[in-house]
């Protein structure tokens, strides 16, 4: 995917994921309320996200092409690829070097590993 998403676009995407499928007119109203956006602004951003393959606007109804979970999964994969050369242990090491893992965190990670095995 390797497409950059800014904070503004992400906020907008979150809003759609929360409410989809949503009529584009309703989306415009919602954005005017929350972000103080004009109709054209909303459509501009929506078009950008559609072009990036996140959503689709068919007959005035906006729906997700990629779910929120799928999106973040891809995002995190990309991140680990980029920052740690795809090495999960390197990522974990980096993550834990600054932040203490709680007992609950360790338990969950162990469960994940068990599942895979």
């Amino acid at each position: 995917m390797a497409v950059e998403f800014g904070e503004v676009q992400m906020k907008f995407a979150e809003l759609i994921w929360e409410r989809e499928p949503i009529g584009s007119g309703e989306l415009v109203k919602l954005c005017a309320e929350r972000f103080d956006w004009k109709k054209s602004t909303t459509y501009t951003v929506l078009k950008k996200l559609c072009d990036k393959g996140l959503f689709q606007n068919i007959d005035g109804v906006v729906s997700a092409k990629i779910s929120k979970e799928e999106f973040y999964t891809k995002k995190s994969e990309e991140f680990v690829d980029e920052a740690f050369g795809g090495s999960l242990p390197a990522f974990l090491a980096a993550f834990t070097s600054h932040q203490q893992l709680s007992r609950k965190d360790i338990e969950e990670i162990r469960n994940i590993i068990d599942k895979i095995q």
Partner: protein, 514 residues
């Protein structure tokens, strides 16, 4: 428009020295508080916007207005020519000739003037095109940023702070209702520093200052020194803003601030017109500045105040005209008028106590009224107009002929009172009448004794350049009836001649302490 352009040129020329001075001052003032540079740039801005030059003895700037005028011909011919060239429907040459004859000026000189005026018009058009281009660029820049910043979300609940995806450096946008825009993806610490910086910009009204700076640049786009000034001014704005932000910061906070500056400095250097950005200019210098900050001492501030005063006075004044007044006898002036140009073949000169007295002997039979005295008088133009004022009050005749291109105001024929003056004229020429005779910038004025006293009071005669030896005795014995004086401007712009009587010369004499 030509008139405005003339003024702009005048201001542009007058500002060059000031800009150079201020730019050089930046070097020794490196450690001085940065807000002071703002004061200096304000003087520059005023110099570039206010078309006033006060004449004064302490000023050293030349009179750029006159220089420009003489380079492009007189202002009035310019206007005429501009009018002609703009009026495309009328056959240009015909109109030109009409105007020329109406002006009672020789057509040849008018044509020469029209030629230089033509090149002036060309420059004016070029100037306007440049301004339009700068304006167009600003509009383009405004619209593109406006489009980008529309897609933004309010940062938390902060007033007028917006996060925007499309920008890569924080800035302030908007003149009346300015808002801070920050690029998305900044960490919390950076945002805190950025907001501290931008809020100081808003407090200092830097967004307005920068806009005004760009407006001045638009007007003076042809002047490379103004470009230099604008670039340095933008830097100094940032430095001054940083200075204020960090003045109350601890070392750790300063470190964090410097890091934020670095992280916001974009690799691409674009000339942004509208935004007042955070990490836009001279990040290296600014980071150094952050750790060099010191509270200014009293003496430094005093020194800065003096610098400001000196720069302001010098840039807004120009050197007073140095003028030489030469009184001649009436007969001499008549002779000059007849011959056209006086030859100084019969000049006699005597030097007494370091002062050279030059006398001109036209006729041995004539009385010893053929004398020449040169005295210095300040401000020829003022003298002339004031002389005319006096004459009008006195209900005497001011008669003037305009020949070739000369001061337009002198060409007006003023008659007071409205009487039949044809018979009186000859007598009055000798005794009381005033003749403003404009000849290629030279004005001869014959005035009465009383009037000359008044002229004396408005235009102090400061120095005697020359006179005949006989002259002094003439004055003493009152053998001189009437003497006509001539004022020479060193620049040769306005010359005035007075007709003065022996009585007045006595006055001159006493003032000068002969």
């Amino acid at each position: 428009m030509g008139l405005i352009f003339g003024k702009v040129l005048e201001m542009s020329f007058a500002s060059v020295l000031l800009i150079v001075a201020v730019s050089l001052l930046r070097i020794p003032l490196k450690k001085a508080p940065k807000w002071f540079m703002g004061v200096l740039w304000t003087i520059v801005a005023l110099r570039l916007l206010v078309p006033v030059q006060i004449q004064s003895g302490i000023g050293f700037m030349p009179d750029f207005g006159n220089m420009i005028e003489s380079a492009f011909g007189k202002e009035n011919t310019n206007n005429v020519a501009t009018y002609v060239s703009e009026d495309t429907l009328a056959p240009a040459t015909g109109v030109l000739e009409d105007i020329a004859s109406g002006d009672a000026a020789p057509v040849e000189t008018q044509n020469v003037a029209a030629k230089s005026a033509g090149s002036f018009v060309y420059l004016v058009v070029l100037w306007i095109i440049g301004m339009l281009m700068a304006f167009g660029y600003a509009s383009y820049s405004y619209i593109s940023i406006r489009l980008k910043t529309r897609i933004s979300i309010r940062y938390r609940s902060s007033e007028r702070v917006y996060v925007c995806d499309e920008i890569d450096t924080p800035f302030i946008f908007g003149l009346i209702k300015p808002a801070i825009y920050i690029p998305s993806g900044l960490d919390h610490e950076t945002i805190v520093n950025v907001l501290a910086h931008e809020r100081v910009h808003l407090k200092r009204k830097d967004h307005l200052r920068k806009q005004l700076g760009f407006l001045i640049l638009t007007i003076h786009w042809f002047n490379p020194f103004v470009w230099l000034a604008y670039v340095l001014f933008c830097r100094d704005i940032e430095l001054a803003c940083d200075e204020r932000v960090i003045s109350r910061m601890s070392v750790d906070e300063k470190k964090s601030y410097a890091e934020s500056l670095l992280s916001c400095s974009t690799k691409k250097r674009r000339m942004m017109v509208y935004p007042v950005a955070f990490g836009e200019v001279a990040v290296g210098t600014r980071i150094k500045g952050i750790f060099n900050y010191r509270k200014p001492s009293f003496y430094l501030l005093l020194m800065l105040a003096i610098t400001t005063g000196v720069l302001t006075t010098c840039s807004f004044t120009r050197a007073a005209d140095r003028v030489v007044v030469t009184p001649y006898s009436v007969s001499y002036v008549k002779e000059v008028e007849e011959v056209g140009n006086a030859s100084s073949s019969n000049t006699q000169s005597v030097t007494i106590k370091g002062i050279t007295y030059v006398g001109e002997d036209f006729d041995a039979d004539e009385k010893k009224s053929d004398v020449e005295v040169k005295v210095k008088v300040e401000e020829p133009s003022q003298v002339r107009t004031r002389i005319e004022d006096i004459r009008c009050q006195e209900n005497t005749v001011i008669e003037s002929h305009q020949e070739s291109q000369s001061e337009p105001e002198a060409s007006a024929e003023v008659k007071k009172p409205e009487e039949d003056r044809s018979e009186e004229k000859k007598e009055e020429t000798k005794k009381e009448s005033t003749t403003v005779d404009v000849k290629k910038g030279k004005t001869h004025v014959h005035v009465s004794t009383d009037d000359l006293k008044k002229i004396e009071s408005i235009a102090p005669v400061s120095e005697v350049v020359s006179a005949t030896e006989d002259f002094a005795t003439d004055v003493a014995t009152e053998t001189v009836d009437t003497v006509v004086g001539e004022v020479f401007d060193e620049g040769g712009v306005v010359d005035t001649a007075f007709g003065i009587t022996s009585e007045t010369l006595g006055l001159v004499d006493s003032i000068l302490g002969w």
